[in-house]
């Protein structure tokens, strides 16, 4: 019982941590390379626990929270994370058994798709098109993915959480 509760709080804690990491400022030079943490953590949990934890509803609420914090446009990240979670959940059983490099490529594709969605949303909202460097973030995120995955997985094993 308490282990279940602990694993629940671990799950919530990682999500909150992702939101904080999203808000933490980086030096100006590195700003463009900042990974999209909420998406990475949500992806991890979608692959790890599947529908038991990550549902579209959760992705939506999570997205709304991060929208509220960044103050861009209410629903923007909710939409992006919903799409991300949907694709990840649908191909979960295959993604899980991919070797790491293939998984990384899949994550890269997912995040590029996500950026594209963001571009469409921004275009509809009438914002200007971002510079080319803006596309660097998915690549950095994908590079970080194996490490994040292994780290979170290792921590989960060590803590013997579900």
């Amino acid at each position: 019982m308490s282990r279940q509760r602990l694993s629940f709080w671990w799950f919530v804690g990682t999500l909150v941590m992702a939101l904080m990491l999203m808000l933490v400022p980086l030096p100006h030079m590195l700003e463009a390379f900042k990974p999209y943490w909420p998406a990475l953590v949500l992806l991890y949990w979608a692959l790890e626990s599947g529908e038991r934890r990550v549902t579209l509803g959760l992705a939506f609420i999570f997205g709304l929270c991060s929208d509220l914090l960044t103050g861009v446009l209410l629903g923007e990240q909710a939409l992006r994370l919903c799409v991300l979670a949907f694709i990840a959940l649908r191909f979960r059983s295959r993604l899980r058994f991919f070797p790491m490099w293939q998984q990384t490529l899949a994550v890269l594709a997912l995040l590029l798709n996500d950026r594209f969605l963001l571009l469409v949303v921004r275009a509809f909202a009438g914002e200007s098109t971002p510079p080319a460097l803006w596309w660097a973030s998915p690549f950095v995120s994908a590079l970080l993915w194996p490490f994040l995955f292994l780290l979170l997985d290792d921590l989960r094993m060590r803590l013997r959480l579900q």
Partner: protein
């Protein structure tokens, strides 16, 4: 650890219910986005949830602050001495300039009194600290630690020691968002110091620059010219440095000259800012419309949030209506 295998996880999972749910959530998100875009709900929601949101911001700014404190703690003694020396020199210079200015200011005051206008060169400002928080790359926004409780209102100009930084766009109880002059949605009426030519400086789409897209072909604009706020439009007071022209070229359309300028304010490194409380002097026949802000206790109205970023230059028709009432 054995992999938890679920029965409802076939390799080609694809239930209609799942897709329907996705469509439902996407539709919900889109409705939210459209409503938010039209009405600016997000800021009202943020205002309502400020008690949760603001501590998160403070928390997120902790690493940056910690880093700053560490860098101070471990700073080289020589570096500090050097910096101290430089600051002393700056102070001396500034004081010397101030002394010279004081006489001019006094004279100005006398002349103004002669002309019967109520205006002083004193600045009513509030010091604000920047909350180090990422508002998203390429968003040209800053968070400051003053909010509605400190009397901050949407539309107030923000400056630093070198020039105009931007203006307040959104206010929370204890913090506020500043839109920088480099934001593509931002426009500030400017005047070229050397020639007095008036034009408008927009933020630019690429990076840390200002764009002056419609300078007349015949105008005398040179690289190195300084831009000052012209005080038109009634949002920024007159005479604050905005930038310095870095390039001039004919615009692609060929109708105007297009100039680019480097903002004078230290936008990247700004740590402490000043929020101006002065309303600009009503210059010329039509008195500027006071930014129609909601009362302090309420969130910014949707119309003003969407309209505020544009400096209200074309406000002349609106002023004609309000011109009947005597300005207080």
């Amino acid at each position: 650890m054995p992999l938890a295998r679920e029965e409802s996880s076939p390799l080609f999972a694809g239930t209609a219910a799942g897709t329907l749910r996705l469509i439902f959530y996407l539709a919900l998100a889109m409705v939210l986005m459209v409503l938010d875009h039209r009405n600016g709900w997000l800021w009202r929601l943020r205002y309502a949830t400020a008690i949760v949101v603001e501590p998160v911001y403070r928390l997120a700014s902790l690493p940056a602050e910690g880093f700053h404190t560490l860098s101070v703690a471990f700073a080289d003694r020589r570096l500090l001495t050097e910096q101290n020396q430089r600051l002393r020199e700056d102070l001396l210079l500034a004081n010397a300039k101030l002394n010279r200015m004081a006489a001019v200011a006094e004279q100005n005051q006398r002349l103004k009194e002669l002309l019967d206008t109520q205006h002083s060169l004193d600045l009513h400002v509030q010091m604000a600290r920047v909350i180090g928080m990422d508002m998203g790359a390429y968003r040209h926004r800053l968070m400051i630690n003053l909010g509605a409780r400190d009397g901050i209102k949407s539309g107030q100009p923000v400056i630093d020691a070198h020039g105009v930084v931007g203006q307040i766009v959104d206010v929370l109880p204890n913090s506020a968002t500043v839109m920088l002059v480099t934001d593509p949605d931002h426009a500030v009426p400017v005047m070229i110091q050397r020639t007095g030519l008036r034009t408008i400086a927009y933020g630019s789409r690429n990076g840390q620059q200002l764009t002056l897209p419609n300078v007349p072909m015949a105008a005398d604009v040179q690289v190195g010219d300084r831009l000052l706020t012209s005080g038109l439009g009634g949002r920024f007071p007159q005479g604050f440095p905005v930038g310095e022209i870095s390039s001039v070229a004919p615009s692609p359309a060929g109708m105007f000259l297009e100039a680019h300028a480097q903002p004078s304010a230290d936008l990247d490194r700004a740590d402490e800012l000043l929020v101006l409380h002065d309303l600009p002097e009503p210059a010329g026949p039509p008195p500027p419309v006071r930014p129609a802000g909601p009362p302090d206790s309420e969130a910014p109205a949707p119309a003003s949030t969407s309209a505020s970023p544009r400096a209200s230059l074309p406000a002349a028709p609106a002023t004609a209506v309000s011109a009947g009432t005597p300005p207080t």
